[in-house]
């Protein structure tokens, strides 16, 4: 148990239309039976953290429905455990959320009430499987004020790097400079936006920023205070995805078809937990063909499925061909339908004989409940 550390998950509001029209992006279904937030929640639970706050911004009912009491993560505790924290607009400046400081200010009572010494801040839309316990240990050992987890994205497209906050480090891994989504990146060390610090420091940063009308934790607090603080980078060498666009959502999802990534992200030492739906096993029909695909329970597959990811309860009728696609819960693909590079939200129904083709660079996304 990591009784000295609390976790705070900030659920952002990056839009991935149309999937986020009905839910916060942290609640996006991914890898068949999961929601993105399952990864960070499981990481925290696996580190033995027993007090986790989930700060929500907007559109959070689907997130609340998913997390509920926190039981799957063993976070349904008598004291503390999992806390879903809806936005507190009165405490936030001008009643709107401009940045993460506003979110944190809105939950300042909860932070204050918690009795842990350290806090881990993380975003809800990151996919990774990491030993967070080791991060806190390194933080303590370095006598750091703030520890920022990063991954060296060497070899990644420069245009992709501009999605991240980049950390310039010296040879002792101390942070020399920070650039938020720079146009011309000077380094490949991308912040995973996981920060460890003493809870008291976080409280004073939030208080000070709020008082000044500042709203961004990195730009307004860390960068400005960098000179006087010991900020250390902690390198993570595993797989890490930030899901902030349809392109990154599609890429992240499809990479689960790669055994190496799959086995790292779902390793048995640090399992990823999720809410169970008690679906029966998936049934394959007489003419079913299914290869290189990730299939959840409760599906009925009678057609062809290639290079695809199916959530729970999907039905693929005879003669239908689904390729390179992501099909979410309870969608129904009728006879003879042809799909390639599509992303279907829940309960989409494609009637007999239709053909829907997207492109790898621009998958065709269809919103929940659509019938075509």
């Amino acid at each position: 148990m990591r009784h000295d550390t609390m976790g705070i998950i900030l659920t952002g509001d990056e839009k991935i239309a149309p999937l986020t029209d009905i839910r916060a992006n942290s609640a996006l279904p991914i890898a068949g039976r999961y929601r993105i937030i399952d990864f960070v929640l499981s990481n925290m639970a696996n580190a033995g953290i027993v007090n986790v706050g989930v700060a929500t911004e907007s559109n959070y009912s689907s997130l609340m429905d998913h997390i509920k009491s926190g039981k799957p993560w063993d976070l349904d505790r008598k004291k503390q455990g999992l806390n879903i924290l809806p936005p507190n607009l009165e405490k936030q400046q001008f009643g709107v959320i401009k940045g993460n400081i506003d979110l944190l200010a809105g939950i300042s009572d909860y932070i204050h009430r918690s009795n842990q010494t350290y806090v881990i801040l993380s975003l809800g839309n990151m996919v990774y499987n990491m030993d967070l316990d080791a991060v806190v240990n390194a933080h303590i050992e370095n006598q750091a004020d703030i520890t920022a987890v990063y991954k060296d994205l060497k070899g990644v497209d420069e245009s992709d790097l501009t999605r991240f906050t980049l950390l310039e480090l010296d040879e002792d891994k101390r942070v020399k400079d920070i650039e938020v989504q720079p146009y011309y990146p000077k380094t490949t060390n991308a912040s995973m936006e996981i920060y460890v610090m003493e809870k008291a420091l976080l409280e004073s940063i939030v208080d000070e920023c709020s008082a000044r009308g500042d709203s961004d934790f990195v730009k307004d607090a860390i960068i400005k205070k960098m000179g006087g603080m010991r900020i250390f980078g902690y390198e993570f060498t595993g797989t890490f995805y930030k899901v902030d666009s349809m392109k990154s959502y599609y890429k992240t999802s499809m990479d689960f078809l790669n055994a190496e990534y799959r086995e790292e992200l779902f390793n048995s030492e640090r399992p990823i937990y999720t809410k169970t739906k008690d679906q029966s096993p998936t049934k394959y029909g007489e003419e079913a063909i299914c290869t290189n695909s990730f299939v959840s329970d409760g599906c009925v597959i009678e057609g062809t499925v290639i290079n695809s990811i199916l959530s729970r309860g999907v039905k693929i009728a005879k003669g239908a061909v689904v390729q390179n696609s992501i099909i979410m819960q309870d969608s129904v693909i009728e006879e003879g339908v042809e799909l390639n590079h599509v992303v279907f939200d829940k309960e989409v129904c494609i009637t007999s004989g239709r053909k829907l083709i997207g492109q790898e660079s621009y998958p065709l996304a269809i919103s929940k409940g659509t019938k075509i």
Partner: protein
């Protein structure tokens, strides 16, 4: 304390010795079934869907796995503040204390538990049947008839009737006679081993039965006949649906096969009557480039690279490239090596089948050292955790066990 209208007691202490090596280390109700379930999930889920929220599970034989599986009852929504799931093993008390001597004695020893809930009725179930049944409707019929006991019955083929406990009833459904395995059955209504008793009547008969040293303390042999003889009103409750006793390797195999018929004889993909089970944190199953799966079910945690037809693949099973599986039941965590061929077999949990091994492919032979009386109809059983060597040839009708 608020008293309960009905408390269920599941008899889950039996060894199920006819399941051979499958029940060497676990009680029969804990035997895996249907891809991601265990046999006891069926009565437990039925209870919850029937509005029965207090369930005692009576364990005795190899209880560890079953106890751990049931835990606090949360997977079945049976973690309740008042009621819920209780595992009830035999216990020592004062100067007495003994093993459960029979089904009736097991309930007798737990009258103290029942007393705590002061139920009006007690539902007695067994932990070794596969079926979906609304006990609430049976309870309603029981209460409306005012019977001392109501027994669920189902019609069985006449030629098989002599294998069952047969209830002879009048037109109103009242039971007039009970015959255990009659040579010449007068009716084809078999007892399903599901009883609802008025609690006060049950308590009296169990207490009397305990005093009778000659009794074998069994519901079918002693309690039911005694109540009939005393003229107590006993009603039958007719059930028409899928019901299967999975007491033998052949019937367990067959019941699994019933799930993959098209349409299935027994449908697990029924959102109005979900069978709950304890879930483990397993990822969706992965179908590799060389996977070919037809007429089968596959579930979480599996990784399939071989060819599978007409089989039930349980959670976390790995099937290697070039392996061929037909008409088989592959239990949780089993690993099937590359190029292995498996036909009409039950592969126990976490068993490992070596590469290019043949299981259940070649015909029975009298000199086969693995021949077993439990493996009828040519079915092969590989004990959970056993390893079959690369290239081995396990003939039909074999039971392969771990050597002690």
């Amino acid at each position: 304390m608020v008293s309960k209208n009905c408390v269920a007691m599941i008899l889950a202490g039996g060894q199920g010795s006819r399941l051979g090596a499958l029940t060497k280390n676990v009680a029969k109700p804990a035997v895996p079934f249907g891809g991601k379930y265990r046999i006891i999930d069926f009565p437990l889920s039925n209870c919850v869907h029937s509005g029965i929220d207090t369930v005692g599970v009576l364990t005795q034989y190899e209880p560890l796995e079953l106890n751990t599986y049931i835990g606090n009852g949360n997977p079945w929504d049976l973690d309740r503040s008042h009621g819920g799931a209780y595992v009830l093993p035999p216990y020592q008390s004062g100067e007495s204390g003994e093993w459960y001597k029979g089904t009736a004695n097991a309930i007798y020893q737990n009258l103290g538990f029942l007393e705590g809930f002061n139920p009006k009725n007690v539902l007695i179930l067994s932990g070794d049947h596969i079926y979906k049944m609304h006990y609430g409707e049976m309870l309603k019929a029981h209460m409306e008839s005012g019977a001392a006991a109501t027994i669920a019955v189902m019609p069985v083929p006449w030629e098989e009737a002599s294998r069952f406990g047969i209830m002879n009833t009048d037109e109103s459904g009242q039971i007039v006679e009970f015959e255990e395995k009659p040579a010449e059955p007068k009716s084809n209504l078999a007892s399903m081993g599901i009883y609802i008793f008025k609690y006060d009547v049950l308590k009296k008969y169990l207490t009397d039965d305990e005093r009778d040293a000659s009794s074998s303390n069994d519901f079918g042999k002693n309690i039911i006949p005694k109540m009939l003889a005393d003229g107590e009103k006993m009603m039958s409750y007719r059930f028409e649906g899928y019901w299967k006793d999975v007491g033998t390797i052949q019937s367990l195999w067959e019941a699994n096969m019933d799930l993959i018929d098209d349409p299935p004889k027994f449908d697990l993909n029924d959102r109005s009557w979900i069978i709950y089970s304890r879930n483990y944190a397993l990822m969706p199953h992965f179908m590799g480039d060389t996977a070919e799966v037809t007429r089968s079910t596959v579930t979480e945690g599996c990784s399939i690279e071989g060819k599978i037809d007409h089989s039930v693949i349980f959670s976390g099973v790995k099937v290697g490239r070039g392996a061929v599986i037909r008409d088989s039941v592959i239990m949780p965590g089993a690993v099937i090596g590359k190029g292995a061929v498996i036909e009409k077999s039950v592969i126990g949990p976490k068993a490992v089948i070596g590469a290019e091994a043949k299981v259940g492919v070649n015909h029975e032979s009298e000199d086969n050292p693995y021949n077993s009386k439990y493996c009828t109809h040519g079915i092969v059983l590989i004990e959970g955790g056993a390893e079959v060597a690369d290239g081995a040839d396990i003939r039909k009708g074999s039971m392969v066990q771990i050597e002690d």
